[in-house]
Symmetry: C2
DNA sequence: GAACCCATGTAACTAGTTACATGATTCA
DNA sequence: TGAATCATGTAACTAGTTACATGGGTTC
């Protein structure tokens, strides 16, 4: 596990606390750990034990006291050894390749739909990575030593998604060349009701004033995972719209509790993909004040708003729409 | 975990046993599991439990009886649901990007050496993947349904490594533009003896008849991991040679025991990278007969041979050399 | 007879994740 | 009062890996 070495590496720039380290790792897209407490705090125990770092406890009034770690000479040697050692083979995990290998029985329209959905996912990830790179610890504002290779790293990451996107185009033309239904055995025909079970959210496309929007209502399932944001975006792409009305009931408790971070992540994804969202609350339904606050604070102002009735929500959404198609 | 769905997917082509499944997953480069027994056999228990597969026990004389699994209609529905559901974001893990972000203190020559080493690793992986793709279960010999997308998948995988290689070239020119030593603080200067501890193998470059070869001897550490093959290849690349003499003592017990598969993997890597290896045994040292057998069987004949003394080894190596540089 | 192949399965472990616990302060 | 932030840490879990156990048959 090279996480320990990464920690040492970060400490060569400046002494850091576990908490800061965690934030950095979480915000850096090419550090492929979740940056969870468990690993980081445990890592520091080990590093201390091996004498690669020293710990200085700094008491703070009011705030919890923090442990500031500094790298030692032994630590620097260990880091150098790691840097010069043979680098692991780069690996990727593309679920899509596996699906493609196994999807030979599907009919063309299904192939097209999973491909488009995948395209959206990749596009979004590209935008997301771009953002994260801009504001991450290694972003090279000034060409200081610490961010020497920032541009090269940026290019590497973005080209991963770009080449994926151009490959997707190739797959598209290939699929377009296939006959509509191929010689598939009878038991492989898709049952539409099953799909609806999978995509757990109920959605309708509504046309008004020549504008189209997606209306998401509850069907027992709520927005409770990051993945749901991707689903919404896929739906939008499929139906060629970028406006969504969410029934207030579709937001889970976890969602409105800001501390889970779910709302932030999901909304960020929607905003990044330029999807406008209006939430329509049913009578009596209320969100925590802080939730509404956060919405206005985070600059979602013109892409995300909460209304107490469906009518207002739709009016705002369609009024705001620039490109109606 | 989508492994269960992958298993269902494979079963749509034909009923399979756990053992066959394992082999397929192991041999398919884009299936990112090790294909270990534990997971696969357990997966079948779950799939049976959920009614997605049926099991048929086939007794065999002499050989252990096998459990042949067949997919059910429920299983096909489940598979279809998965295929049509939102695909995971493709991810990559590139240790090298992390190293680069943390390597700003290194001097140019060190940067160059880790870059070259990484380049070799990627090159090798490219060759390896190409091979694996050719002989994997999804290889499209005849354009049957089952391997419909084989070419597209192949292209995707190979372009991952190719783009990495061309990126490496960019990094190379960038590094070449850096001053030889930059303003690094005194405590960051590398201590050569530490590197030697890291690269656990002792190696010398020997010149004879205008030819150069790498001589690897024991320094307490043996060839016992796949990684060691990569190390050897890195050494070769660094010193611009493709011939190696291995002291027999450097091969670990695990290596010569064929059942670990270590020898096969390591040698395959060496062969793939066109490195010729001669092993020189010390007096009295002996390898299991099967080991020598395997060497000749697997077509290593002209790139890999065992000798009972150093002189023969070197003679064969240098005689065989085509391009001497 | 050593060590491989087929075929099933389990034990023990590593890496990594999510979720919880604490507790003072800030903020509305 | 409720909930967020800073900061540390632990518990419980999932996913995945390596290694072992079994045992007849084959191959040299």
């Amino acid at each position: 596990m090279s996480l320990n070495h990464v920690i040492l590496g970060l400490l060569t720039r400046e002494p850091l606390t576990g908490y800061e380290m965690k934030k950095i790792i979480q915000a850096t897209p090419f550090m492929y750990w979740s940056g969870n407490n468990n690993q980081i705090y445990k890592a520091f125990v080990v590093l201390l034990d091996e004498g690669f770092v020293t710990k200085e406890v700094q008491h703070q009034d009011g705030l919890p006291s923090k442990n500031i770690y500094t790298i030692t000479n032994d630590g620097i040697n260990e880091l150098n050894k790691w840097l010069l050692s043979v680098t692991d083979v780069p690996i990727f995990k593309k679920q899509f390749l596996i699906k493609l290998a196994l999807a030979y029985r599907l009919k063309r329209s299904d192939l097209e739909s999973i491909l488009t959905s995948y395209e959206n996912v990749v596009k979004m990830q590209l935008i997301l990575s771009e953002r994260e790179l801009d504001k991450c610890y290694f972003a090279g504002q000034e060409p200081s030593d610490g961010s020497l290779f920032a541009d090269l790293i940026r290019e590497n990451i973005l080209s991963f998604y770009s080449t994926e996107l151009s490959w997707i185009q190739k797959v598209k033309t290939f699929i377009a060349g296939l006959p509509k239904t191929r010689n598939i055995t009878k038991d492989t025909i898709l049952q539409k009701e099953n799909n609806d079970v999978e995509s757990t959210m109920n959605y309708q496309i509504i046309e008004r004033q020549g504008n189209r929007y997606l209306y998401l209502t509850t069907s027992g399932s709520l927005i409770q995972r990051e993945q749901d944001a991707l689903d919404i975006i896929s739906f939008c792409a499929e139906h060629d719209t970028n406006t969504v009305v969410l029934d207030g009931n579709i937001l889970s408790d976890d969602f409105v509790k800001l501390k889970t971070g779910l709302a932030g992540t999901v909304l960020q994804k929607l905003v990044n993909y330029k999807i406008k969202v209006a939430i329509s609350l049913k009578g009596g339904q209320n969100f925590p004040v802080r939730f509404q606050e956060m919405i206005s604070k985070n600059g979602f102002g013109n892409t995300f708003r909460v209304f107490t009735n469906l009518k207002d929500a739709v009016n705002w959404l369609l009024a705001k729409k620039r490109k109606s198609k």
